[in-house]
Symmetry: C2
Subunit: 341 residues, 2 copies
């Protein structure tokens, strides 16, 4: 308000300042700093020193305006407090290699209007590409084909098969879970999953059944669906134990459900893993490590998902678009709830 003192901080040093200090033109200064060839070594040195002395940092805005590339991508999520976007974001950050690219993060909170708004805001800031992260694995509407930048869908695939989507192989995850249980000698395996309206729970169950069939086995009782909560796990496990006391393993739809299941087992006097093996999905560390014993779980490799999505986005930006759904495999993390010791 009162004076124009620039907040006592180094104000706006531009290439012009550098050039003046080095006694050259801006053109030469630019070329010197960017390693262009048409500059004498001695001149370049002078410019570089001037730049350092002024701690010059080029204005990326101006640069982007010219280059028509901002080195910026938008990450549009619907799951900010959730489990998926954050590891995916970290993977993406890794893949981008923080040098060159920065990530704009927006949360649409499941609202299509807000999503449109964010897309528009991101585009007007001229992001080079978009990653869209869904909150569940079910297909989601495409942003459309008319966007001026490439888009990669992560976790939740796009409904449009011409888009590129990177997802988790939930069927394979179900298979590998059963494979693991069978490999530890279990044969009377039950399944308590989560919310039946989620594609993830259906797919995991489907994979588990397929694997059981491959091993010549059948599920103990029916697969049970409820919600992704501990209390559902407890309730379902209690019922299950009453009806099928012979079971020797319970495959749970998520780590949270598994925690509830383990609680119920303990209350029923069953021991884990000697008597009954338990495993979950997601490998959410705060749940797996707090369990007694620590919980075996299928890791969804979200960081890798983020990395792959970022790589694909890069490729598309560089003119190598792909389309279709790419499913990434998962990984069983073995802990005490399935193997003793």
């Amino acid at each position: 308000m009162n004076n124009a003192v620039p907040s006592s901080a180094s104000r706006k040093v531009t290439l012009n300042d550098v050039a003046r200090l080095a006694g050259v033109s801006v053109a030469t200064a630019s070329k010197a700093l960017n390693g262009r060839k048409q500059v004498r070594a001695e001149t370049r040195a002078r410019v570089v020193e001037a730049a350092e002395q002024l701690s010059f940092s080029p204005n990326e805005l101006a640069r982007s305006l010219l280059a028509d590339r901002t080195g910026t991508v938008g990450l549009l999520t619907n799951d900010l407090e959730g489990r998926f976007s954050i590891p995916i974001l970290m993977g993406a950050e890794d893949a981008f290699g923080a040098d060159s690219v920065a990530v704009f993060l927006c949360d649409a909170r499941g609202d299509a209007i807000r999503e449109k708004h964010h897309v528009h805001a991101l585009l007007s800031r001229r992001v080079d590409g978009l990653i869209v992260v869904g909150s569940r694995t079910d297909p989601r509407p495409s942003l459309g084909r008319e966007l001026p930048v490439p888009v990669v869908y992560a976790y939740a695939p796009s409904e449009d098969p011409d888009d590129l989507s990177i997802v988790v192989d939930n069927v394979g995850a179900g298979r590998s879970a059963v494979d693991h249980l069978v490999s530890t000698g279990r044969s009377r395996i039950a399944h308590i999953s989560g919310d039946p309206t989620y594609g993830a729970s259906q797919e995991r169950a489907q994979g588990a059944l397929a694997a059981l069939a491959d091993h010549g086995l059948e599920l103990v009782g029916e697969a049970r669906f409820g919600s992704w909560t501990e209390s559902w796990g407890r309730a379902a496990a209690s019922m299950l134990l009453g009806q099928h006391p012979e079971l020797d393993a319970i495959l749970c739809g998520s780590d949270q459900v598994a925690r509830g299941v383990m609680d119920a087992l303990r209350e029923h006097g069953r021991t884990v893993p000697d008597d009954v093996a338990v495993m979950g999905f997601d490998n959410w560390e705060i749940f797996t490590s707090g369990a007694r014993p620590a919980l075996t779980s299928v890791d969804m490799n979200f960081e890798r998902l983020g990395r792959v999505a970022a790589q694909r986005l890069f490729a598309a930006i560089d003119g190598e678009p792909r389309s279709g759904v790419e499913a990434l495999d998962t990984r069983v993390v073995i802990r005490g709830s399935t193997v003793p010791g």
Copy 2:
């Protein structure tokens, strides 16, 4: 490579195109679209229609270059997978009102080098300000006073008292926790906290002791410190119950610890809340709601923290800087683990 077909997407429509289609100059087009006064209504309408027809979206880069404001802030965190940055980010997004401001998110992962790098990258993209989120409540090094944009520290305060830091009032949180327990008729209160090297655990304990003193009470036994884990909670509670079976409440340093404590209580045949009340800190919903009964906890109001940080940052950008540490109060969320029913 081969052809110049613009990826089958609407390529780069500029104000120039709009102006040409509307039959006016770019200057007029700009004024028309920005609601400036010096344009006839009829002309304005023509421009607006042309803009819509071409689905024109102004290039924020050019605009920012001119205005020397980007409508962009950087959020620098060290806790991406953790508990704090995300709600803070959401609060900040809220406060900014997604219209005008977008957030660059960077994770320094506790590495000072990486942090410097990110700061530089954000500054070269000309963010209008920075929010720095720490991973624990202990003071952290300042980014320095020479930055060209305002900085607000959130959760972890800056070591430099001339910086502005927004933190949680952990002492007050400890006080209000004890106040709640006392108000439900408890008088033999024990405290099992987390990692003693964290300022948060010390401050919460300190607040709890002060409140007890105010009520003419003393802690049952000593405050016990360990780690922020369920297993520590179980172990500590078992010991505690052996030494002080008379206790009627356990205040836990975090919700995770509280979960462990509740497990131990159940195994010792103690009931919650009738026999022993339990409460935690953080109000991490996945822990509080899974507990039996649901866990009373002190909510740290992270979203509000984010909102306030964003508001202060805005004020600073607009030339109203503050400094010092601003502590925000917390809020007890009462559930079944302290009151029956």
